[in-house]
């Protein structure tokens, strides 16, 4: 692991950890939005400032996937997960991408004006 270099975004549309306001993702990197079994979720192409946990095989409404939970690098709170492998062919596009649970992050620029 190590001392992670904290990334900051400028501009608008920055999603941050609700607890410690660490920047995690940009609105321009959103691929799609879902409402899954855990609530509203956003699929991002890439995220920053997160650490991934260990691999876990889960069955979700869309099928069986191998995922790793991701945690905010600062406060270590769970914020979502990333897809490592999808067993359904039509879900393969999610591999390597990240889900953030909508309740656990917030759009920092919309609520504060600037980040």
């Amino acid at each position: 692991m190590g001392y992670m270099h904290q990334v900051f975004f400028g501009g608008k549309g920055v999603y941050a950890c609700r607890d410690c306001h660490t920047h995690i993702a940009l609105r321009s990197r959103v691929e799609s939005r879902y409402t899954g079994q855990y609530g509203r979720a956003i699929l991002f192409i890439d995220v920053v400032n997160v650490r991934a946990g260990s691999e876990d095989k889960r069955s979700m409404t869309t099928g069986v996937h191998i995922v790793r939970d991701i945690y905010c690098m600062k406060c270590h709170k769970y914020v979502g997960w990333t897809y490592i492998k999808a067993f359904e062919p039509d879900q393969r596009f999610k591999e390597g991408k990240f889900i953030l649970e909508r309740e656990l992050v917030y759009d920092v620029t919309r609520e504060w004006g600037v980040c």
Binding site: M1, G2, Y3, F8
Partner: protein, 600 residues
């Protein structure tokens, strides 16, 4: 009949008929006084001098340098004898008179001599005369003969130079009330001090070196030779103490891997380590929210500094080694006393992780930079002296003279500030985000570790990137680079595969890849006093790498094997043991004394 000089013949030389050198003929026609031939007692004929060896250097130059050395060291008899025997003199009569007139302050004679000696270019003659007249002017002022001094200024100094700023400065010296004021204002140590000698030295630049040999020339040449040996030395971790008989060279392999010492004691990844300036202690900061101060003689734990609510990301020793400041992701800095391990102050003022901190020359003030767009100068009593808004600071370094502050921001630029006024000076642009910075002690070179896995070195005088070091692996984690070796001659950085890379700064050659750690190396620190590198890694250990056998940090003679801080021998996978150790050691944690809190 020829005879050789001195006693034994040189090996291989035919004593019966050594060939006389062609320069013997020149000796006979030498213009200098004194015969070039030696009279041997008891011989009627004069025997030519036999030179034992051909030399690529001109004999006149070599002999005159020898004469200068003999003269400076006070060997008067040998000096006279060498002049007679060689036929060369150190200085001709006019030059010798010139030298003595300057040192005696006979300015009229000096002016005359300058004309006869002959200085080539017209403006050089003016510049030389200006130096002489300036000294005369200052000495007259010192003796309170203001009227004569003024005459010199008006009639002579003003015609000799077009530099009006200097003329104004000289005329302002007329106002000085006392000789002490004059001396401090003119940065001049008085007619009876070294100033006349300095005038002589500066005039040498205008006189051909053939006429007047530059002062202590042989010593200068020796110094250049030693400096060259040090510059071309591959590793340069040991000082050049071998004298003049042998060339200096550092050992074939620096940092022998068998000398490494592993220190355990932290419960989590170690994120920072640095030696104290006097080499007596080593301080480390960790993700386990504590710092440890180690004694470098036996690597025992002196103090465990607990109190931070977040991981410790940076440490800074005060110049007098009595205080240490730790910076943390809990947005505070804490000041600790090294002797007692006591927590002295908490500094609250940053709104985000404090990235880096450095002391400002004395042990009263230090500067910190955070990810919250703030650079703050603190006093050790807890007050904020100055605060500016800046780009987000990921790392900052301060020059030794406290004039320059370099800051790595989050947009791949390095910002340079004038530290005395905290004003922005210039930018150095990098192609990728800068993770960490290092500055050489002479503030000439700066290292920037990039996220792309390259280590860039900048020359701060020309503000150009002059070298790139690659080979180590780097990702999203901050790996701190450092200068190492004597005179910052080496560059060291860690790598994500647990090896430590060491390059020669000037040639760029990879000197060593030190293996020992099992996880990402976060930081490295060099101590000249201990002649060792210290590295800290994510495997919760710190390793000490002595630069050579017998270095002050090398204690392999005592135990014979690399060892840990508590004295047990190091084994390959320590991780379980470390956790147990820390459970018991944890009870020794010093409780923080009452700290002074601020309201923001």
């Amino acid at each position: 009949m020829t005879l050789s000089l001195g006693g034994a013949h040189a090996p291989g030389e035919d004593p019966a008929a050594p060939a006389p050198r062609s320069s013997d003929a020149d000796l006979l026609q030498s213009p200098a006084p004194g015969p070039g031939l030696r009279r041997y007692p008891g011989l009627d004929q004069e025997a030519p001098r036999v030179c034992l060896r051909e030399s690529q250097f001109d004999e006149e130059q070599v002999v005159r340098l020898l004469l200068q050395e003999l003269h400076d060291r006070g060997f008067a008899d040998t000096f006279a004898q060498l002049q007679r025997e060689s036929g060369y003199t150190l200085e001709s009569e006019p030059i010798a008179r010139f030298r003595s007139s300057i040192l005696a302050g006979e300015w009229g004679a000096v002016e005359q001599a300058l004309l006869t000696i002959g200085i080539a270019a017209q403006d050089s003659a003016k510049a030389a005369l200006f130096i002489v007249k300036r000294q005369q002017f200052l000495e007259l002022l010192e003796a309170r003969q203001l009227k004569q001094a003024l005459l010199i200024l008006q009639n002579e100094l003003s015609t000799l130079t077009s530099d009006t700023r200097q003329l104004h400065q000289l005329s302002s010296l007329l106002m000085c009330p006392t000789p002490e004021d004059l001396r401090t204002a003119a940065d001049w140590d008085g007619g009876s001090g070294r100033s006349r000698f300095l005038v002589l030295e500066s005039l040498q630049a205008y006189i051909s070196p053939g006429k007047m040999v530059p002062v202590h020339r042989m010593e200068t040449l020796f110094g250049q030779a030693i400096a060259h040996q040090c510059n071309t030395c591959r590793y340069h971790v040991r000082p050049a103490t071998q004298g003049l008989y042998m060339d200096h060279t550092c050992a074939e392999t620096a940092f022998p891997p068998e000398l490494q010492i592993a220190l355990t004691g932290h419960g989590d990844e170690v994120w920072y380590v640095c030696f104290s300036p006097d080499g007596r202690y080593l301080a480390s900061g960790s993700r386990d929210k504590t710092c440890i101060i180690w004694d470098t003689r036996d690597y025992s734990i002196v103090h465990r500094l607990a109190g931070h609510d977040g991981e410790v990301s940076y440490l800074a020793w005060s110049p007098d080694c009595r205080l240490i400041v730790s910076a943390s992701s809990d947005k505070t800095l804490r000041l600790w006393d090294v002797e007692s391990g006591e927590h002295l102050q908490t500094f609250r003022g940053h709104a985000e992780t404090v990235a880096s901190c450095q002391w400002l020359g004395d042990s009263n003030r230090f500067v910190s930079g955070g990810l919250d767009h703030r650079i703050i100068i603190w006093s050790t009593n807890g007050n904020i002296i100055k605060q500016i808004s800046s780009p987000r600071v990921h790392d900052l370094v301060v020059s030794a003279d406290c004039r320059l502050l370099l800051v790595a921001d989050d947009k791949s630029d390095i910002h340079a500030y004038d530290l005395t006024t905290l004003t922005f000076m210039y930018n150095l642009e990098e192609p990728a985000v800068v993770m960490s910075l290092a500055l050489s002690a002479d503030a000439q070179y700066c290292l920037a570790e990039l996220r792309s896995g390259e280590l860039h070195m900048w020359d701060l005088n020309t503000r150009m990137r002059i070298r790139t070091f690659t080979g180590h692996s780097q990702g999203n984690y901050v790996i701190r680079c450092a200068f190492a070796g004597l005179d910052d001659r080496l560059v060291a950085t860690g790598s994500e595969d647990g090896t430590m890379f060491v390059w020669n700064r000037d040639t760029g050659r990879l000197l060593a890849q030190l293996k020992g750690h099992s996880d990402t190396i976060n930081v490295c620190s060099w101590s000249s006093k201990m002649a060792a590198l210290a590295t800290a890694a994510d495997d919760k250990t710190i390793r000490i790498w002595p630069a050579y056998h017998g270095a002050p940090s090398d204690n392999s003679q005592q135990s014979g094997r690399p060892r840990t801080a508590d004295g047990s021998d190091v084994s390959e996978d320590d991780d379980e043991d470390d956790d147990d150790d820390n459970q018991s050691v944890g009870s020794e944690m010093h409780s923080a004394s009452a700290s002074i809190h601020f309201s923001n």
